[in-house]
């Protein structure tokens, strides 16, 4: 399964990219598992995801928690806590 992954704010800066297409390997079922798997992809990923507990996620533009299942997702986003308003 291929999914579009978006990064915002300092997650984007640490990775040096705003988005990419990712082919999900088998066994990666939740947002939390995806963050662990991404953190192992290299130095920049390790830096971006070094504190997964502070990173927020959205699936198809809805906020989700780390235990959310990603099956069927078309667009997944990772970002720091929001600071709008």
């Amino acid at each position: 399964m291929t999914v579009k992954v978006l990064y915002f704010a300092w997650v984007r800066e640490r990775l040096g990219k705003a988005q990419e297409e990712i082919e999900l390997p088998p066994g990666i079922d939740t947002i939390g598992q995806l963050m662990s798997w991404l953190a192992d992809r290299g130095e920049q990923y390790a830096y971006a995801f070094e504190r997964p507990q502070v990173i927020r996620a959205a699936i198809d533009r809805n906020h989700v928690r780390a235990d959310a299942r990603i099956e069927g997702a078309r667009e997944i986003a990772f970002f720091p806590p929001m600071t709008g308003g």
Partner: protein, 157 residues
């Protein structure tokens, strides 16, 4: 119900937006306007500009959903949310929330609800430009606490 949600780089005109909610009608008794303005300091340090990043696909949909929720919770006659993105200078307007109702309690509560939401859950991130280099604004626990009070069913005060 007149509702407007807009994300834009351009400045907005609070008075004109507020007037749209009450113009030509005589059932609006209370109009609350909140304007969030870029300050020249962030936690005591002088800043030269603010960059607002957002998640384009999600922000508008999320805000619209919360405006709809506000309309369910309170007897509103209109609600407007405008949020800017891009680079803003101190003194410039960042965000506008306008709520219209027959009664003031509903208008105040809905405006606070929308602002608490925008501060904590709308996908926007602030980067400040300052002397020591740019830095991302950290989320505040006090904002999370403010947003939390709406997770209980709303009493109609």
């Amino acid at each position: 119900m007149r509702t407007t949600v807009r994300l834009q780089r351009e400045p907005f005109e609070p008075a004109a937006e507020a007037a749209k909610l009450s113009a030509g009608r005589t059932d609006v008794g209370a109009l609350v306007t909140f304007t969030g303005i870029c300050r020249a300091d962030e936690n005591g340090a002088a800043i030269t500009a603010l960059h607002l990043e957002h998640y384009p696909g999600m922000a508008e949909a999320e805000i619209t959903r919360h405006v709809e929720e506000a309309c369910t919770r309170w007897p509103l006659l209109g609600a407007t949310v405008i949020h800017r993105y891009g680079r803003l200078l101190p003194g410039e307007n960042i965000v506008l929330v306008v709520t219209a109702s027959s009664h003031r309690q509903a208008a105040f509560a809905a405006a606070e609800f929308l602002m608490d939401y925008l501060k904590t859950r709308a996908p926007f991130w602030k980067l400040v430009e300052k002397a020591g280099g740019p830095s991302w604004v950290e989320a505040k626990a006090v904002d999370d606490a403010a947003a939390e009070r709406w997770s209980k069913p709303a009493p109609l005060r």
